[in-house]
Amino acid sequence: MKVYALTLAATLAAGAAFAGEVAPADVVFNEDGAIVASLSGVAGNPAEGAKVMTNRGLGNCVACHEVSALSDAPFHGNVGPSLDGVGDRWSAAELRSIIVNAKVMYEGTVMPSFYRVSGFTRPGDGYTGKAATEIAPLLTAQQVEDVVAFLGTLKE
C-alpha cells in the first residue's frame, strides 16, 4: 500500500504537474539565485519535511549532512556541512534554491539537484543501473516545500 502510494506520487511528478504547481523546467531563480515563489502553492509541512530528509528513497539528506534535530534517524554523514542553524543563515527562498539545484549557489558542488529533470549524463532508472526512460525529479514540488519548512525550524 505504502509502496503503491509512493509510486503514484513519482508518476504524477514525472507527468503533468498538479494545478498551481511549478514544473521543474519552469522554476524561476531571481538575480541572487533564490526562488521566491512556492513550487506547490501549498504551505510546507515541517513534519513531512523531516521524513523526506531521513528517508533513503527520498531526500536522504542525512546521508551527507548532520542534523541534530533528526538524531533519531541512524547514521548522518559529513560530506556536507551540518544543517544546524540553517534557518538563521538562509531565507526560505534561498533554501528552496539550494534544494532545487544547489549548483546555482554552489558551483560544482557534489550536492544533487532535487527538482531538476534535464542535463544529466547517463541518467538511470532509479538504482537499477538501466537507462532511464522518463526522468522524474528526486522530490515532488510539495516535498521540496515540506523540506524548506523543516529547514526553517533549524535555528540556533
Binding site: R56, N60, V62, A63, C64, E66, S68, S71, D72, A73, P74, F75, H76, G77, N78, V79, V110, P112, S113, F120, T121, R122, P123, G124, D125, G126, Y127, T128, G129, K130, A131, A132, I135, L138
Partner: protein, 285 residues
C-alpha cells in the same frame, strides 16, 4: 531490544565529533604475522594535480574486526576461493586437453608479480589486457575452453589465486606508450559526473575520502586489494563488479563489466594505486 540498541549506537555516533570517526587510521597491516604491507604510499607523480599526496589502501577505512580478518589467511574468507581456484588451475578443460598448469606450471612461480602490473599492454594482440581478459584469452585460445563470465565467481577466484602470488609487491602499472590514450580516457571517466545524482568517482573518492556518506566510510576507492571479499554480499567481488555498483549508486545507466569504458577506468584507477602493496584477496564490508 535490538532496535533500541542500534538507535543508541547511532545517537552516540552522531554525537561524537566526526573527525575521530571518519579519518583513516594509522594501523599497520602485517600479513600472517610476517609480511608488512605498504598501505600508504607517496602519490604517484601523475596525481599531482589532485592535491592528494598520500595514496591509501581501503584497508585503513575499515573497522578493526574487518582489518584483522584480512591480516590472517585462516580468517580471510577470500582464501576459500583461492583454494577452489588451485583446483581449477590444475584441471584440464577444453578441446586442447590442457589446464593452466600445463603451460604455466606452479602458480607460485609463474604468477609471481603478474597482478602488480595489470592491466597491461599486449604487444602481439595490440590491446590493453586486464587480468580477466588474459585469463579468458588463455581459456579460449590455449585451452579451447569456454571463457569465464567476466565478473563471475570462478573468474574472481582465479584472479584471487593470481593476486596472492604478488601480495606485498607494489602495484606498478604502466600508463605511457601505447596505453596512454586509454589511460586518458579512463581519467576522463573518473571525473565524469553521472546519473541523476551527478556524482563522479572523484566526488566520493577524491573530494570526500575519510568522510561518512550515511553509514559508509569513504575510502580512496583503490583497487590494489581486488578481488575483494565483501561481508555485505559474502562473496569475492571483481573490480568491474565494484565499479558497476558505484556507478549504479549515482542513479546512472551503468557500463558493463568487461566494457571498453571499464577497462580504461580500471587502468586509470589502478595507476592511482601505484606504490601500494597488492593485497588481493582483501576483506571489506
Amino acid at each position: 531490544m535490538k532496535f533500541k540498541a542500534l538507535t543508541a549506537v547511532a545517537a552516540l555516533m552522531v554525537a561524537m565529533p566526526a573527525i575521530t570517526l571518519a579519518d583513516p587510521d594509522d594501523d599497520t597491516l602485517v600479513l600472517n604475522g610476517e609480511t608488512e604491507m605498504v598501505t600508504k604510499a607517496a602519490a604517484p607523480a601523475h596525481m599531482e594535480e589532485t592535491g592528494i599526496d598520500t595514496v591509501m589502501s581501503g584497508w585503513h577505512f575499515r573497522n578493526d574486526d574487518t582489518q584483522a580478518m584480512q591480516a590472517d589467511d585462516f580468517d580471510n574468507p577470500g582464501m576459500l576461493a583461492v583454494e577452489s581456484a588451485i583446483e581449477a588451475w590444475n584441471t584440464v578443460e577444453g578441446e586442447a586437453g590442457k589446464s593452466c598448469a600445463s603451460c604455466h606450471g606452479a602458480a607460485e612461480d609463474s604468477m609471481k608479480g603478474i597482478r602488480a602490473v595489470y592491466p597491461k599492454w599486449n604487444e602481439t594482440a595490440g590491446e590493453l589486457r586486464t587480468l580477466a581478459m588474459q585469463v579468458n584469452d588463455c581459456r579460449t585460445n590455449q585451452m579451447k575452453a569456454e571463457p569465464y563470465k567476466y565478473d563471475s565467481g570462478p573468474m574472481a577466484a582465479m584472479e584471487a589465486l593470481i593476486s596472492v602470488q604478488s601480495r606485498g609487491m607494489p602495484v606498478n602499472v604502466a600508463i605511457d606508450g601505447p596505453v596512454q590514450a586509454i589511460w586518458e580516457k579512463g581519467k576522463e571517466l573518473y571525473y565524469t559526473r553521472t546519473g541523476i545524482l551527478e556524482l563522479s568517482c572523484a566526488s566520493c573518492h577524491e573530494e570526500n575520502y575519510g568522510n561518512m556518506i550515511r553509514a559508509d566510510h569513504l575510502s580512496q576507492g583503490q583497487i590494489n586489494g581486488f578481488p575483494t571479499y565483501r561481508l555485505k554480499n559474502a562473496k569475492l567481488n571483481t573490480v568491474h563488479g565494484r565499479f558497476k555498483g558505484c556507478v549504479r549508486d549515482t542513479r546512472a545507466e551503468t557500463y558493463k563489466p568487461g566494457s571498453e569504458e571499464f577497462i580504461a577506468l580500471e587502468l586509470y584507477v589502478a595507476s592511482r594505486g601505484n606504490g601500494l602493496s597488492v593485497e588481493g584477496p582483501s576483506v571489506r564490508n
